[in-house]
């Protein structure tokens, strides 16, 4: 599971020796996040976001469980019980703002984590499984966030439930039945709220399970690194503890400062004012917009306005929206360049930055009203999005001429490597 030079756990205290024989939990921790896990020495700060995502998941679970103690999943009570939390529960306002802003920052962290993967080719062999599990986590996170947003039963909650389950009506024949089955009725109602609450409580623990698999599969090849050159010798690595516990640790502090700025000083800056209006099935809000972390996908959905042959525009939009994420699953096989890091891939690197810009433009279009000129902009940006993943990535990876790679991580860091000199001689 690790490199041959990794330190072994050797308990000295008799109690620890005793425990190690009966239940080698300390051994597991030592080997997974302790001094027994060897990690490339040259990771940059983009490798901190996995740890931070784990922290976010913990924050969501802890704040969420306490919120659930005071929340009433009933259409007649949900909105008022949320206000009860904000006003009467001790520290309730902090829990609720902590949970809602925590969700948003979780997504910010995850997007950085995912784009780190795109840039450094982390999804490539031998790390495909880490990536596949990651995309699965992302899908679960989207479902969890959506259902959580419905719970306070404000205007945006209600209409988000209406619009998102409405996607499924785009499918021919089964569509209407599917929507009805998801909602437990013809429109969002008590049955919907109850099942969403149940699932919103369950899914974070499913995510936790998949995260454990994610890290398990990470620990087989170990982390990649900014050069994308695999670890060769002991000189290439440092033990996770204390090197990366210290490095992850101090950025946790930084994260907490930023998190605090949102929770305590601009707790509603990422929310929509309409969600402070109780749900009203008779009154559609002027603009139904999801939370910012869904804007790009919302823009993709709305870009397909016309039917293509016999496929209605709405169905195209729904298929495109799903495809825009599902295509990530195929990245390890679409990108056949043997070079991982975009640092050494001049052509791919340009397209990567075009993609970053493109997703920002899509986000901007997603929050704008569905009218010109935003529709045109969204359509252009969606074209690039699909061109990027479906066409450019496979083609670039076969025609590009990568720049020369360093012999090893050590050479990249120190400028020389004894092993490299030997290899050159031999």
């Amino acid at each position: 599971m690790s490199f041959p030079w990794a330190k072994q756990y050797t308990p000295s205290h008799p109690a620890m020796v005793w425990l190690d024989e009966k239940l080698p939990l300390p051994r597991l921790i030592y080997g997974a996040v302790g001094a027994g896990y060897e990690v490339p020495r040259n990771l940059n700060y983009f490798w901190n976001f996995g740890f931070m995502a784990g922290l976010c998941l913990m924050i969501q679970i802890v704040t969420g469980i306490v919120l659930a103690m005071h929340f009433a999943p009933d259409t007649g009570l949900a909105f008022d019980s949320t206000e009860h939390i904000m006003r009467d529960v001790n520290w309730g306002w902090m829990l609720r703002y902590g949970h809602s802003n925590g969700a948003a920052l979780f997504f910010a962290v995850i997007y950085l984590h995912i784009f780190r993967g795109f840039y450094y080719g982390s999804y490539k062999a031998p790390r495909e499984m880490i990536w596949l599990l990651g995309v699965t986590i992302f899908l679960l996170m989207m479902a969890t966030a959506f259902m959580g947003y419905v719970l306070p039963w404000g205007q945006m909650s209600y209409w988000a439930a209406q619009v998102i389950t409405g996607f499924f009506t785009a499918f021919p024949l089964i569509g209407d039945g599917l929507k009805e089955w998801l909602l437990g009725g013809f429109a969002p109602d008590n049955a919907t709220l109850n099942r969403f609450f149940s699932l919103h409580f369950l899914l974070p623990f499913v995510i936790l399970g998949v995260v454990i698999l994610h890290i398990w599969s990470l620990h087989i090849p170990g982390s990649s690194n900014p050069t994308g050159v695999e670890v060769k010798t002991k000189a290439d690595t440092v033990p996770f503890h204390p090197y990366y516990t210290a490095k992850d640790g101090w950025t946790v502090g930084l994260f907490m400062v930023i998190y605090g700025l949102f929770v305590f000083y601009m707790p509603n800056s990422m929310g929509h004012p309409d969600n402070y209006i109780p749900a009203n099935p008779m009154q559609t809000p002027a603009h139904i917009v999801p939370e910012w972390y869904f804007w790009p996908f919302y823009a993709i959905l709305r870009s397909f306005t016309q039917p293509l042959l016999f496929i209605p525009g709405k169905l195209m939009g729904v298929l495109a929206m799903f495809a825009s994420i599902l295509v990530w699953f195929f990245m390890p096989w679409l990108d056949k360049s043997p070079v991982r890091s975009a640092k050494f891939r001049p052509l791919y690197r340009k397209f990567f930055w075009a993609l970053v810009l493109d997703v920002l433009v899509l986000g901007y279009c997603g929050v704008s009203p569905p009218e010109q000129p935003y529709i045109l902009l969204a359509q252009l940006a969606t074209i690039y999005y699909f061109a990027h993943f479906f066409i450019i990535v496979p083609i670039v990876s076969s025609i590009e001429r990568p720049e020369p790679l360093p012999f090893s991580i050590t050479e990249a860091v120190l400028g020389h490597d004894g092993q490299a000199a030997l290899a050159a001689k031999g």
Binding site: Y97, Y243, F264, P273, W333, L380, P394
Partner: protein
């Protein structure tokens, strides 16, 4: 194989987009940018309103909240409820327990009688929430407890709305389809320009302030907006104070752990 399939799938979606784009853009070229009276006359950015609760160190001005509560009680409460606020919450405005008992007792609350179990009217208690309001006029007055969080612009929006009633511009008034209908009032701060609420603060001196402040229309609008900031976010002061401690503590921890990090890595190039 997978790459060929992917390129075909990509082309399929792009074809769908190009088709949608062509049709939409042709319509766009013919119609130009969408226009409407709202687009032309709605004022999106509210007037500036400086409240003592603004900013990271903001605290409520209790005297102003009491004045604002007076405006709510004398004017707005004829039409608008305030259901998330309990009478006892008014201690935060600096009222004494007896004053709050008196305020609550003026309300009539329809509640279960503890002896008979029947619903009965009784005078309000400090633990009751503000009594519901029955309104018979045109339009639906929203509950005001959360209004400053439920509108873009917050308290400044409420202030602008209250002071923003105006004569309708001739361009709109001249056309029957854009003229403000009877029973509605023109207000460029309101999203669809015509609001069902008659100007509530149409004259100076609608309330008498006990602290001697002159109750101009503008002053009353400011005070009630400040009061509604409090009703929407009663824990604002605690939030600001806790935030100060949190940020301070976390910065301290960050600096220490950054130094620890530098120490651990010193001598290891990376």
């Amino acid at each position: 194989m997978i790459r060929i399939f992917s390129i075909l799938a990509g082309l399929f979606f792009i074809l769908g987009l190009l088709w949608s784009m062509t049709i939409d853009t042709m319509a766009f070229a013919a119609d130009g940018l969408p226009t409407s009276p709202e687009k032309e006359f709605h004022i999106e950015h509210p007037k500036a309103l400086s409240l003592s609760s603004n900013g990271p160190f903001g605290k409520f001005d209790k005297a102003q909240l009491q004045r604002g509560f007076g405006v709510y009680r004398e004017v707005c409460s004829q039409c608008h409820s305030l259901k998330h606020v309990a009478y006892r919450d008014l201690t935060a405005l600096g009222y004494s327990e007896n004053a709050i008992k008196a305020i609550a007792a003026k309300a009539t609350i329809n509640a279960k009688d503890p002896l008979s179990g029947e619903l009965k009217d009784r005078p309000g208690l400090p633990s009751d929430h503000f009594a519901p309001v029955v309104y018979g006029g045109k339009g639906v007055p929203p509950d005001l407890s959360l209004i400053t969080k439920a509108r873009e612009g917050g308290a400044a929006y409420v202030y602008s709305l209250l002071t923003g009633y105006a004569a309708q511009p001739a361009k709109l008034a001249n056309k029957p389809e854009t003229k403000t209908p009877d029973g509605l009032y023109y207000n460029p701060y309101f999203a669809n320009l015509n609001i069902a609420m008659p100007p509530p603060l149409a004259a100076d001196g609608l309330v008498t302030y006990s602290d001697g402040t002159v109750a101009t229309k503008d002053q009353m609008a400011k005070d009630v907006s400040a009061f509604l900031t409090w009703t929407a976010e009663p824990k604002l002061e605690a939030r600001h104070q806790t935030g100060f401690m949190w940020i301070g503590l976390m910065l301290f921890i960050t600096v220490l752990s950054f130094m620890a990090y530098r120490n651990v890595w010193s001598g290891t190039k990376h």
